[in-house]
Symmetry: C2
Subunit: 401 residues, 2 copies
């Protein structure tokens, strides 16, 4: 597996566009269209929020009816909590894309991100869709990736190449993040394209595995959005022998690369958390089971006390133990160990003797690895997050105004 510059139009047979439709207040690109020139196998994972946005409902219903062909995404308006009108708007957007591209409306994934509770500005969006279809190109990936940004500070894309059955297969991806990023399904908006030839079963299994170790392991603020979705399109244009077994070397090669792409995007989302100044990787070891490992990691990653301590470069390690302690995960206080940036701080549940200067140096880094061992089993997992700064409060105190 090789990482390359990539992006969603890196795999063969994918075109994209990103255009300015006037939906974002800042006047930047806000409508992204991704198109597979041939039928693609597709799979998706959607938010489990009980107020799913209209595009989530429409796309989830379309999933699996026919092969996938296009993904239309707008930023600036989430089309969530918009009732019947929201459903009609999302369906009409899919229909417009389908009509202009001469494909089935059920082959179109619709996604939205932005403010909740405001109806889609359909006139603007519709003009944007027309323009995006006209501008579709093999070089449109970058613009499309820009168009899905909201409070993101950098474009999130990835690219990978892997040989499957002796044939090089390409993977590309884009995602957006920044706020409302949280556990329990899901992602913000993410799209992965590949020219691999795989069956729907293979894609679904590989996606489920990939989400579990990537988008289900990141959190910025613990808030799960109404709009989260991650969609993968696999159009087969690489010409590799069709992967149809749910195990074996071909499956493993495909699944491992999909995982790498998903993890790459997910980490970029965590790194670009709203107002983030630090990227924090929390490895939980010694857990009784995976659910406990994730619970402990997420409790630490979501704790505002832990996050602000990292922002302040304050080695207040008691907050990390405290969060593990209320996470609900089983742990043995007298066996717990903790290290930050390689500095061993807690041994057997007690403060160890460590060099305070060394710890301060570790806390001053932009990327920090925290390792906690719960001392009750041998299951491990890693959770990715960022710190919480004044900027987070500023960004989120002033979002709609």
């Amino acid at each position: 597996m090789k990482e390359v510059a990539g992006g969603i139009t890196f795999p063969k047979g994918f075109k994209a566009a990103g255009v300015k439709a006037g939906i974002k207040k800042n006047g930047k690109e806000d409508v992204a269209l991704v198109f597979s020139t041939v039928d693609a196998t597709w799979a998706g994972r959607f938010t489990t929020n009980k107020f799913p946005a209209a595009p989530v409902l429409v796309s989830r219903a379309a999933l699996g009816k026919v092969s996938g062909r296009a993904v239309i995404i707008n930023a600036g308006c989430a089309n969530a909590c918009t009732g019947e009108q929201g459903m009609i708007d999302a369906q009409n957007t899919a229909k417009q894309v389908a009509s202009l591209l001469d494909i089935n409306p059920d082959a179109v994934v619709v996604a939205s991100t932005g403010v909740i509770g405001v109806p889609l500005p359909m006139e603007k969006l519709s003009a944007g869709v027309r323009q995006a279809v006209a501008e579709l190109s093999e070089f449109g990936g970058e613009k499309a990736s820009q168009a899905i940004m909201t409070t993101d500070t950098f474009v999130k894309t990835c690219g990978f190449v892997e040989e499957i059955g002796g044939v090089p297969v390409r993977f590309g991806g884009m995602s957006k993040g920044a706020g409302m990023i949280c556990p329990n399904m899901a992602t913000v908006l993410g799209l992965i394209t590949t020219d691999a030839a795989v069956t729907p079963d293979v894609l679904q299994k590989a996606l489920t595995e990939a989400v579990e170790i990537s988008f289900n392991r990141i959190t910025v603020d613990g808030d799960m959005s109404t709009n989260d979705m991650l969609v993968v399109l696999a159009n087969g244009m690489a010409g590799n022998p069709l992967v149809k077994q749910l195990e074996g070397p071909e499956y493993e090669a495909f699944a491992a690369t999909l995982k790498a792409a998903a993890l790459n995007l997910a980490k970029k989302v965590a790194r670009d958390g709203e107002g983030a100044t630090k990227f924090i990787e929390i490895e939980v070891q010694g857990a009784l089971n995976m659910a406990d490992a994730r619970k402990a990691g997420m409790a630490i990653a979501n704790s505002p006390l832990v996050k602000t301590a990292f922002f302040g470069q304050d080695p207040n390690w008691g907050r990390i133990l405290c969060a593990a302690g209320y996470s609900g995960a089983e742990l043995a206080p007298e066996k717990t160990t903790l290290s930050i940036g390689g500095v061993q701080i807690v041994e057997a549940g007690l403060g160890a003797k460590f060099d305070e200067k060394e710890l301060r140096r570790a806390m001053a880094e932009r990327e920090i690895k925290v390792t906690i061992n719960l001392g009750v089993g041998n299951v491990a997992t890693t959770v990715y997050t960022c710190d919480m700064s004044y900027e987070y409060v500023k960004i989120n105190g002033e979002y709609t105004t």
Copy 2:
């Protein structure tokens, strides 16, 4: 029931002191002692954090062995994650208090609050204990309440009078809060004194009920501390006929006043959340059951996106629905209603027509009532919280340094 100025030495037979032992870095009062001149029935609720602090373990073990007589509290050091030495230090503190007051060590509750992972400075604490015993007085309640503060910005006390069996009975209380305030048992440090004569069973039942609607309904940041405890001492000096029935008018009078005292203290804790500029009351109606009502209220109250929106006076109501949506509580999106400060914003899951100016005026208030109806049942509860400001980040980024 009548609310009065009160404080923990307001009920008959209680003395207190608050002294400077040099444990707090700012040199203020940091050791509080409360003493009942006669044996008191007592009950307590403690943190469920899996890293309970040494004083929690010591006090929990003492609970119920003998009647209660004294509560010793230090601020500035939590004596948590301090292992065997922490247990010995907590036990020795109880023994010293018992020896000086000539009472049983098991009649002493020990509590600590402050930084985690640092051993108690026993020499300073011991000198503070001696001084506190020497200064015990019926007028010491205020000083004691000051001594338990950490990042609190005001002293939290309460007082109530109620007739039980024709006899006026007094209740007093003090608490501290500010950070690490969260659901799921519990409180920060809280102490309620009363001169009511009640049996241990009556006190235990009334305390359980009171905690459920007060300290279990507040949250500042979702972080449950290693040190949370709420203790009630009832010394019987009011001379009312002993309340021994678990129902009936005497029980109700006692339980209702205990609830009022607990709720009064709990709301003050939420109001004084670290960096708070607003007090927010979230009433959840129409829930299927109490667990769901609490889940939805806590998810809204803990959401950093909701909290920062209130700080920014930003009427981004979608975030409130979103938090209810991922809380795990059952709800009917098409029946959900939401109002903020009396302004109806969501009807039947959709944005209602409302006066934007009126909503902005409501968001600008220092106390804001949010009412959400989940539309699936008839259970209601109220959760209390505060907004999240730059100050929260500042306070918690710089706590130990």
